[in-house]
Point group: C2
Chain length 277, copies 2
């Protein structure tokens, strides 16, 4: 018997006793595949593997390599005309007595494919959400299957609103429901610290690593409502890239030429559509 159970598009359904379903006992990644191939693939791998280690789910580098080989054999990660998203869901599998984990967990890795959402070509409209976000101590940043904060915040968004900004219990602005945040002023950028985040995005982490080489300063610092109302706000995730914010609730935000320039550089680097300039 293989240690990991693999589920591919078209596989039968998941057993009702799966611990991912029962307890949120697992992790996920959504990987965008563009005309240039998969976006930030190594960073998705690293987050998945470090999350699995933190939760104690036995899924390591060799398992990931096995998935990668099979996904490539199935042409799921091939650069193509049609943009798509490959979603990975890793669960601890079935078994155990209640919350207690089984002696020999047999993880499940589910792979599904969906079409990518369009990348906005204009600055977007966002709002402050009432639903707070509560990063769990000890697993801040990992993309676990516990995402009810984000689901409930999304319920507050009318269709024309692109994203909602979520605050922690102290009122600091932490992130969007599906994006990280970055403030741009000239060549200075500010983003909330990693250990305060509910999800540490792959694009955010990559930018923190590479922006200094591009002549930007990167400061990891908590943000207030006033900070984000000052303009120069970018939404970040690896599925849509960098999206400038033009309106926050009823207030128009300045989208400076520097902000647009950085957003377009990011889109170019990861092979995503440019904004209209």
């Amino acid at each position: 018997m293989e240690r990991v159970s693999w589920y591919w598009p078209g596989s039968p359904g998941i057993p009702a006793d799966d611990r991912g379903l029962a307890y949120g006992d697992g992790l996920f990644e959504t990987i965008r595949v563009t005309a240039d191939g998969p976006v930030l693939l190594e960073r998705h791998r690293d987050r998945l593997l470090s999350g699995a280690q933190a939760l104690g789910i036995p899924f390591g580098g060799c398992d990931y390599q096995q998935w990668l080989d099979e996904a490539r054999a199935r042409s799921l990660l091939e650069a193509g005309e049609t943009d798509q998203i490959v979603k990975l869901t890793l669960t601890r599998g079935s078994g155990g007595r209640g919350y207690r984990i089984p002696d020999q967990p047999q993880p499940r890795l589910l792979t599904s494919v969906m079409s990518a959402p369009p990348v906005p070509r204009q600055p977007v409209s966002v709002r402050f959400c009432r639903q707070p976000v509560s990063p769990a101590p000890g697993r801040a940043g990992f993309k676990t299957l516990e995402r009810l904060d984000q689901v409930l915040a999304s319920q507050e968004l009318p269709p024309e609103c692109f994203e909602g900004l979520m605050a922690d219990h102290e009122g600091r602005i932490v992130e969007g429901t599906r994006t990280n945040l970055m403030l741009v002023q000239g060549h200075e950028t500010v983003t909330p610290p990693r250990h305060h985040l509910a999800v540490a995005g792959t694009l955010r982490d990559w930018l923190v690593a590479v922006l200094p080489d591009q002549g930007y300063t990167v400061t990891e610092q908590r943000l207030s409502r006033l900070d984000v109302q000052g303009g120069g706000l970018l939404l970040l995730n690896s599925v849509m890239g960098a999206v400038p914010v033009g309106q926050l609730d009823s207030v128009s935000l300045a989208v400076t030429p520097e902000t647009l320039k950085l957003a377009q550089w990011i889109q170019q680097q990861i092979g995503l559509q440019h904004l209209d300039s």
Copy 2:
């Protein structure tokens, strides 16, 4: 098409895009069925329905009644010799764009049956867990599918340890991984307040309602480590009833005659096995 999708023991697996699996977007209940029938059935119903309302999952009293009729037709809730547990898992179903919920959610209700764990016949041994518990603001007490705190706390427990006590981020003792807590001193009882709980147990809620008529005072008050180390500690859940604690880490706890008496009265009321006296 029926609005709710029903899954019974033996049904095919769950679609991989179920939002319960993807985001913890759902709720569950575990109902013990004894020789007297289902334990605290109405309180399980009430918690499930109020949780569904809080999350905005369209599952109401008529849907529950439909489940109850079908479960009875399948003899799942019949009083019997063999004790069993009927587990209900309610999810928001499939669909939506990412975290955003679909316009017309089609919830799933999964019913599964398992054998009940033995009820301890002697006071049990417990320990303090390092893993904290973080009740989510706005959904404290509801039994959502987000239970990673409890899974990770359970990993700290050696096999001979019956339960782990979890503290909040301020160090107050909130509950066990699968039980609520009650301190008994004579005819005075103390239990942590409902809005601080990760799970508001049906047995705890029932006791808060009925104990005053039995001549007990019930005080809802936060507990410190010192409080629970003072003895007279009962673990509560509707699957095992009331279980006295005889040891906490390396310290023996007093199990007073009053504590034993209350525990036995509770077991008798809900049709569960008595402790050895």
